[in-house]
Each structure stands twice: as C-alpha cells, then as structure tokens.
C-alpha cells in the first residue's frame, strides 16, 4: 500500500511537469479593453476579445523601452499557451494604432 502511494505521488509529480514544456508562442494585436494587475483583455482586429494573463515576468514596452500600458492602447502581445483560451503574456508592446511603432 505504501509502495502504491509513493508510485502514485511520483507519477503525479512527473506528469504535472509536462504542461510547462508543451506551450506554443502566439502573437495577438488589438486594443486593451480591460487591464488589471494579473490580466488584460484584448479586443483583437476583427475578432473576439481574449483574456491574457500577466505576471512578474511580463515585459511592457514602447519603442523598446519599459512603459506602462493603459486601457485603449493598441498593443502587440507575444504570449505563451496551449490555445487562445489559456495565454500568458511574455511581452506587451505598445504601438501606434495606425503607423509605425
């Protein structure tokens, strides 16, 4: 019984590491419609809004310098995740809505 418990716990520990390796990188462009400390909502070009997680590793930049984003900013978000329903932002770049960044 003890052996079984050890094996089950070990298997859970091993499998829980797999999702961290499986993520892909996505790029989304749009306007910030909601902004909180841990997430932002992005209204994408011609598409539905998407919620993207933010964490301490997320970089927010404008013209390659650190910046602060706000609601209404047009941004380019490079995010990691398995799908659009589960994204964590790596970088949020504030860009010009119409022309060059």
């Amino acid at each position: 019984m003890k052996c079984t418990k050890i094996l089950v716990i070990a298997a859970i520990a091993a499998f829980s590491a797999m999702p961290a390796i499986a993520h892909e990188e996505f790029r989304l462009v749009g306007v910030i419609t909601k902004l909180e400390k841990t997430a932002l909502q992005l209204k994408r070009d011609g598409d539905k809004a998407v919620n993207i997680k933010l964490d301490g590793q997320t970089k927010v930049t404008k013209d390659k310098r650190n910046a602060t984003a706000k609601v209404g900013d047009t941004v380019v978000v490079d995010a990691l995740g398995d799908s659009f329903a589960d994204l964590s932002a790596l970088e949020v770049k504030i860009v010009d809505a119409k022309g060059k960044p």
């Binding site: 050890i6 094996l7 070990a10 298997a11 520990a13 892909e24 070009d45 022309g99 060059k100």
Partner: protein
C-alpha cells in the same frame, strides 16, 4: 484521548520516495516528452506510441503525392544533381496584417535545390532558415536574416526538412509579400502567427505546358 496513528516518514522513506519520483519522471521524459516535443526517440517507444514528431506538412501530404515525392530522389553526378521527377514552380502572394508575422517554407530533401525571389510592398524583417524534419530548435540553421523589401537567391538543402522564410510586418498597416520560386521541392507549407497551417501540394512542370518554338530541321 488516543495517540495519533500516523508518524512522520523516516529519512529512508523520504529518500526512497524521491528516488522513485525521479525515476518515473526520467522514464516519462525519455519515452514521451522527448519524442513528442523534440523528435528524439532513443528507445523507439515514442514511435510505437505514435508520438514521434512528424512535421505536420509530411502528415498532411496525401498518399498519391507522397508516392510521387518518394520517387523524387536526388543523385549527385559531379557538379550536377539528377532528380527522379521534374522540378516545380510556384508564385504565391500573402498579406500580412499589421504587426503580424508568418512563415512560408518548402520541403526539400538533402541536396535538392531551388531558386527564388520575393518582394514586399514595404521593408519587412525576415529570416531565411532551414529546419530538419527530425530535430530540435538548436538544429535550425539561419541562412540570411535582416530587413529588406526584396531578396533573390538559391539554395541547395543541407538536410532534409523545410527551408524558407519568416517575415514580420513591423508597421501598423497590412503588407503584401510575393514569392516566386522553382525547384526540386516536394511541397510548401504556410504557418501563421496564430499557428494555423496550410499545405500547398505542388505538381511538377509537364510536357503539356506551352513552349516557345526553338530550332527545327
């Protein structure tokens, strides 16, 4: 009041559990994660489980095209290379949305060649690179990387895999990119920044195509 029945695990039990966890994780890493994510299958179990990473473009190729591609063998004859099938040509145009990127690549066998030209409506960031069919990110070779509005060149594939371009529109307006190519490639694949993929199954040039009249007796 009864004494508690559980006792703290001994040092030996903790070490045993840790060793078992490490062993299970190692087995999962080698038999499942390496084949699925990196195409490396030292035990053969990944292939048996159907996990070995096929490029999606290979998986998407219909059987009739796959058998034609199998006949497209490259043989070296001194400075020349001889092929089992005729070369293919393609001209294709893409529109990149603002700040978007995409990739477009041709699948070539080792030593197969192609020539190409691409032009864009405005300068774009690009990376012309090759990615082997089986391998990891560190096996990707970047042949040419810069910002430009057009590029023209040729390639002899150093390995079997997909060889082509990453283009990034760094402006806030849509950009058009047009590629013309000819070569002994099998097929082409287009990959969007939303990870969508489209495979182009290309046909060899044939004798049925019109030709200008050359010398006659």
């Amino acid at each position: 009041m009864a004494a508690p029945s559980g006792t703290a695990p001994s040092k030996r039990q903790i070490l045993t559990a840790s060793a078992v966890a490490l062993a299970v994780a190692s087995v999962v890493l080698v038999t499942v994660i390496f084949p699925a994510e990196y195409g490396s299958d030292p035990t053969g179990i990944g292939r048996a489980l159907g996990l070995i990473r096929m490029t999606e473009q290979e998986a998407a190729v219909p059987p009739a095209v796959a058998s034609e591609q199998a006949a497209n063998v490259t043989t070296k004859a001194g400075a020349a290379s001889l092929h089992g099938t005729a070369y293919k040509t393609q001209t294709v145009e893409f529109t990149l949305g603002r700040y978007q990127y995409m990739e477009f690549k041709y699948h070539l066998r080792k030593d197969a060649s192609m020539v190409w030209s691409w032009t864009a409506s405005v300068p774009v960031d690009y990376d012309f690179h090759g990615e082997p069919d089986v391998g990891t990110q560190k096996d990707v070779i970047s042949y040419d990387q810069n910002e430009a509005q057009q590029r023209h060149g040729s390639l002899v594939a150093p390995f079997k895999g997909i060889h082509g371009w990453f283009w990034e529109n760094t402006t806030g307006k849509p950009v058009t990119v047009r590629v013309s190519s000819a070569g002994f490639y099998d097929h082409a694949v287009e990959i969007g920044s939303d990870k969508s993929r489209k495979v182009y199954n290309l046909k060899p040039v044939t004798a049925a195509q019109p030709a200008i009249q050359g010398r006659t007796p």
